[in-house]
Amino acid sequence: MDLRPAEVTSILKKEIESYQGETSMQSVGTVLSVGDGVSRVYGLDDCMMNELLEFPGGVRGVALNLEEDNVGCVLLGDATKVKEGDEVRSTGRIISVPTGDQLLGRVVNALGDPIDGKGPLGTSDSDLRPIEQPAPSVVERQPVDQPMQTGIKAIDAMIPIGRGQRELIIGDRQTGKTALLIDTILSQKTTGGGDPKNPEQVLCIYVAVGQKQSTVVDVVRRLEENGAMQYTIVVSASANDEASMQYLACYAGASMGERFRDEGRHVVIMYDDLYKQALAYRQVMLLLRRPPGREAFPGDVFNLHSRLLERAAKLADNAPEINPRYKAGGGTMTALPVVETQEGDVSAYIPTNVISITDGQIFLESNLFNSGVRPAVNAGISVSRVGGAAQIPAMKKSAGGLRINLAQYRELQAFAQFGSDLDASTQATLNRGEKLVELLKQGQYAPVPVEEQVMMMHAAGAGCLDKIPTDRVLEFEKLFLQHMRDAKPEIGQSILDTGKLGDDGKAAIEAEAETVKGQMGL
């Protein structure tokens, strides 16, 4: 951090000169009880829901239960400093977080305070936004039609995600959920060159809820190494933070994202993960004595997630005319919530809730992961309900048969295990499927740009891979794409510019594929 001491003095002088000791009337209450991160406060008659409260010693709290003679609140800080009989003051302010460009490249906690040791954010009071905001209404939205490229072949080709969509990423522990998110962040570099000032740049917000601190550090390091941190905000409420911080972090991240969305920019926000958030919420609510429901979650656990995910949207172009709260139209916020399942059980309470809220899910399976199919996307039960409209035409055409081919392959694969007497067409389907499965494998931190995905998908669809031994498919891919970049850069460029792959392009791809195969000695 580079602080200029001379300027600090002059700023402090200015503050002192303009300081007016406002004497406002504040509501005060008395702490009745405190423990386990929650407190009951007597008094505070005109307290608002979600109001920020000040406890002695600089500890803050949020009012959640407004009852006849007391206020139940969660503490956002060191509860050991608070004792019975302490004076509690209301602030008249709903809990808010700083938002804006200054947060990009930073790691903050659920209250928006920086925790990366890089000094203050430098935001002003006007940058504060309440963490709970109503989602855009029906007229303020428009259908999702722009692609949000993840750079992951299996997803962009089969389960495309559009800007403003909510796509759930679901799977057991250790199936590559977080890795998928990091790859998505890295891939956004292609949208605006990684320059946060570029209005085309898709900004990223990674909300880590209940994660190990070491995991968060690792994510930040990966992003920094790949030059992706400059357009990313990391909101961290790790496992050792208070449960209240863990459940609020998602809303804080959403408010930071909405700021950009409302300015007409594009954001993708990742909640990693919502199951842990629900656990944190359950803890707080049980301590506040709200009645438990199924699996002891409070009754509003569905709303907890639906109101959060509903804030992801693609704003209408004329949104500012409808509601002056929006500075520009056309902005999007894409949500990629993560839910961890136990033993692949997608029919548990929280997973079914979030599946029903989102516009599709990407199911990661540990069997696939362990058999070397990485990313371990199960193409059979993964869907994207709105993303199809957001795929570029070239991709839609090239990858159109992919799902069916894979489905046929899986079906025949089961039969093929019993007998060796297979007719030619069955063998062809099996062969094609094998190559496709191999083609969809992808290393970590290696997103593939969309135009290269289109070329590969077209080559695969045209049967160029059928004669290549399965273990050499990825080698072919590497050589082929390199060859296309060197020899025919205009094809990739035209896919990017027009979104289409013409007949000339198709022929060229097939011809070049043969050339590369020749080079490989096939």
């Binding site: 200029r4 700023i11 005060v28 000094g119």
Partner: protein, 183 residues
């Protein structure tokens, strides 16, 4: 003292009944007497100890309430019948609050660095009263830590005119000041 809702309801009932029967002054005096008695540790230890049988408590309390107005005596006896003797603990405060609010008055506390004169106190009470639309009865507490000025707690509100409060406000403001951060 914090009044729980149960005590407040019992106090309400007693107050309204006393007012209807025109016995407010006597009942108030009785309640004050109860508050003083309950406030002494020996009596409290006896009354609120679960090991003491209810009949024993009722008998002793009956001796105390023999000189009371009929309403107060009945009230106390009913409390023991309903096993609500804990209401006695906060009764004094609850009843006083009720009497004050029926007059449109509130009690408040003024903290000041030095003792306030009665003139100053009255002036403050009048200006606060006009702001709140209520009659304000103030009690002065000396808090040298305030350095100067006053701090008023009234009707669940805090009005901070003290030097200490202003210093704390300034401290917060300076800590929140936007600092020039270079990259």
């Amino acid at each position: 003292m914090i009044v729980d809702p149960v005590t407040a309801r019992w106090a309400d009932a007693l107050f309204e009944l006393a007012q209807d029967k025109g016995a407010l002054d006597e009942v108030s005096r009785d309640v004050e007497r109860i508050a003083v008695e309950v406030g002494t540790p020996e009596v409290a230890a006896f009354l609120f100890d679960a090991r003491v049988p209810s009949e024993e408590k009722a008998k002793r309390v009956g001796e105390l309430t023999s000189g009371f107005h009929r309403l107060t005596a009945n009230f106390v006896a009913l409390l023991f019948d309903k096993n609500r003797e804990l209401v006695l603990r906060g009764l004094g405060t609850a009843f006083k609050d009720r009497v004050l609010s029926s007059r449109g008055a509130v009690e408040g506390r003024v903290e000041s660095a030095r003792p306030l004169g009665s003139g100053e106190l009255a002036e403050l009470a009048i200006s606060l009263g006009s702001k709140l639309g209520k009659e304000v009865l103030l009690e002065n507490v000396v808090q040298p830590g305030l350095v100067g000025g006053v701090r008023v707690f009234v009707a669940g509100k805090l009005i901070d005119y003290s030097v200490q409060g202003r210093l704390a406000g300034m401290r917060r403001k300076l800590l929140d000041a936007r600092l020039p951060v270079g990259n």
